[in-house]
Symmetry: C2
Subunit: 458 residues, 2 copies
């Protein structure tokens, strides 16, 4: 099987300036999905994307959802070869606070080697790198080495609300052997990354009920259990002083961390002081025996996302609150079974109720972690493509959060996802002055071009 | 020293019907202090009260405050005899929900032996009992056996906001040997009570700060301390499973419970099942080794009055909250020194902060408990008067909440307070269908008449 033709790479080099000008054009659309008044801009952006795909030879259409439209396209002319689905999004984050932008968010400007615009990195620059690499193959080689599909949604920055239904409805058109998700980050500039796994999540809510209404804490205090204090007892029992979750059985199924991962993470250019300073935190805390990156990526954890009860206003109100509640979430790692967490948590909390306190328990939702070994064919292909495009071997990382679309692709299409990311950590995505390093953009188009050749081999 | 003249008691008996009709008149004023549109009604009620006092021979005036007016009056014609200040209030609680009243809250109605009206028990009926007893002495005996002053404020149901300043400003006119506060309850109908003490209170707020803003709990969770969980740890440490406050030194100064008190409380007609059912609580909880009444009245305690932090809305939000906070209050008993609680609490909490969590600590206010021995001359005089008026010996109880006015009278006027209460627990004060048993009203006027003779002896 041949590699990437020289003509394809030459085409990429020769058309750099045009690619940048097309990215500028792409970034002019104020396709803010979360703000209703931009709905027409989101639609125009979808139409531009579909037109652009058609112009390079990919059959593409704008497809409606219950919200903003998606773009779906395909080039399927290599029977027997694998089919790759490229996922990304054409919508962008809101732009407030507007006065902090050095140049307008929708007036893309090249300055100091970067393109400054909302969406430059997240996700227009990343998706356009894939499109341009397909163009290079089709124009310079007359063909791609495999079949390519695109699914470019318009609501990723608004929670991908309609994506699950869309994937389900269009499952035949989106059917593929592997999904390529390019909506992430390099680990650091010059350290492109392949994300091999992401934690799952399980979400619960507990409300403790005591007296039927708030009581005067002078008249009644000391004679009945206080729901806020009962809640504190329950929540404080969840995690011990060593950062270990205390719910029985919680660690039973946890896949142990592999030696190569520990070594890989330890080698990453991660500066804990810079990390903590960025969060405004003076010291780390987490499970004993693990590094900060391990705690974030490969170890399960429990966080209280919110608590409430009684009087929260200015000054004082001397009551025993009638009720108090909390949102509790767990991040899950490979082999943990989400369905086992809820009942275990419920029992754990229920066993600790003081006299006179009743418990209401809600399960919101739960989904398991996903992990791919470094030897997964798509991961290996991706690694070779990244190395060829960027000139350095990628680092293998994980993601602490979940990427729900990956779960949907797995469950509906039966396809694994290769998670790439061309942005750099200081790209200011979701913030004022979002930007994209143009040299990284060009490297990423090369990496994408190599990716088709590499994935064709697997 | 003579007792209460027969003529005085006869006068009370002969004028029962008129007293009720005057109470009806008093209760017609919609003197709701908390609702601004009733300001004129509160004022008219104050004017009626002052006029009424003057009519019976007590020199009274309406005195302005920064809010609703007070009434102050005096009859001071027994040089060398003690001076008693009667404290009460002419304002009333709001009346919502209005549709639950069987008859209008300001259309006083006699039905089934009770007068139904807002303010009938709290506090117009109680204050009028004192006024009528003074009238009986002055009309039937031509004199009182001691000097009497009245301070009838107009904002008790709105937090007595201007009372501290008022007492301070009028301290010479209000100067007295003893205060009689009639704004409470019998322990049960037919079990009139004298309140010998009330707990103090100390109020604090703690806010724990972690990251400089809410963090994504997937990306960052497990690597930094969670302020909501840190708060839970702190709060759960405050009180142990036996209901004992764990702040070092907290019990050092606590006055032990006297044997007679334990016996007295054990004899009270207190039905714990009824008590708990009224609160909607299935089981009691409190300090081990003490009864529910003891826990409420004579033992110190700690309650969390409110907690907050992170996401409290519907559904889920996967964050590590930037901060979490709580309102913490202690009820204090005799000999505990409020000024010692704050620093001890601050240290206790500060010692338990996990890595990366900062603490903000506020002291709101604190005041000590007050207690009078059963052998306090005013308590003994009050007990004899109650027995003479009601035909039963009063029970000696305490109050779990604080009565701030009592602290102010002590600190500004240097006077102890005799806490009486003629209402019954089912008088529906602060609720629809407030009422006053007329037989109890008449007994209370007799007890008041006896009180002047008894207090004159001390």
């Amino acid at each position: 099987m041949p590699g990437t033709p020289r003509d394809v790479l030459a085409y990429l080099d020769e058309n750099r300036e045009r690619f940048v000008s097309e990215l500028v054009e792409f970034c002019r659309f104020s396709s803010i999905s979360a703000v209703p008044k931009y709905a027409a801009d989101v639609r125009r952006c979808a139409e531009w994307t579909a037109r652009h795909l058609n112009a390079i030879g990919v059959q593409a259409t704008v497809e409606e959802t219950a919200g903003h439209p998606s773009v779906v396209g395909e080039w399927l002319k290599v029977p027997g070869a694998p089919t790759v689905l490229v996922y990304g999004h054409h919508d962008v984050q809101p732009v407030d606070p507007l006065d902090q932008w050095k140049t307008g968010p929708f007036e893309p400007t090249v300055r100091d080697g970067r393109l400054w615009a909302r969406g430059a990195s997240d996700d227009k620059g990343q998706i356009l790198a894939h499109i341009k690499s397909v163009e290079a193959w089709l124009k310079a080689a007359g063909r791609l080495p495999l079949n390519v599909k695109f699914y470019i949604e318009g609501e990723e920055e608004f929670g991908s609300r309609n994506a699950p239904a869309f994937v389900q409805e269009h499952r035949e058109r989106l059917a593929c052997d592997i999904v390529v998700v390019s909506d992430g980050f390099q680990f650091a500039k010059g350290a492109p990354a392949i994300t091999c796994g992401m934690r799952g999540v399980a979400l619960y809510e507990v409300v403790l009920h005591g007296p039927s209404q708030d009581l005067h804490s002078g008249v009644f205090g000391g004679s009945v259990s206080n729901p806020a204090q009962a809640l504190a007892k329950l929540l404080s029992a969840l995690v011990d002083g060593d950062g270990r979750v205390q719910v029985p059985g919680f660690y039973d199924d946890v896949a142990p961390l592999e030696a190569w991962e520990r070594e890989e993470y330890a080698r990453l250019p991660f500066d804990e002081k810079v990390y903590l300073a960025g969060l405004g935190v003076s010291a780390p805390f987490g499970e004993k025996g693990y590094s900060t990156l391990e705690r974030r990526w490969v170890r399960p954890t429990c966080d209280v996302n919110g608590i409430w009860g009684g009087y929260q206003g200015e000054g004082t109100k001397t009551i025993v609150p009638a009720a108090a509640g909390a949102k509790i979430s767990f991040r899950l790692v490979p082999n943990q079974i989400p369905e086992r967490i809820g009942p275990a948590l419920r029992n754990f909390l229920g066993d600790r109720l003081p006299p006179g306190i009743g418990m209401e328990f809600k399960e919101w939702n739960a989904k398991g972690a996903i992990v791919y070994g470094r030897d997964h064919p798509a991961i290996r292909a991706g690694a070779r493509a990244v190395e060829a495009g960027f000139g350095v071997r990628p680092v293998f990382i994980r993601e602490g959060g979940s990427v729900p679309i990956v779960n949907w692709f797995k469950s509906v299409l039966g396809a694994d996802s290769l998670l790439l990311g061309w942005g750099v950590p200081d790209a200011q995505v979701h913030s004022p002055n979002e930007n994209l390093w143009l040299d990284e953009f060009h490297k990423s188009t090369r990496a994408c071009a190599h990716l088709w050749a590499e994935l064709a081999r697997v």
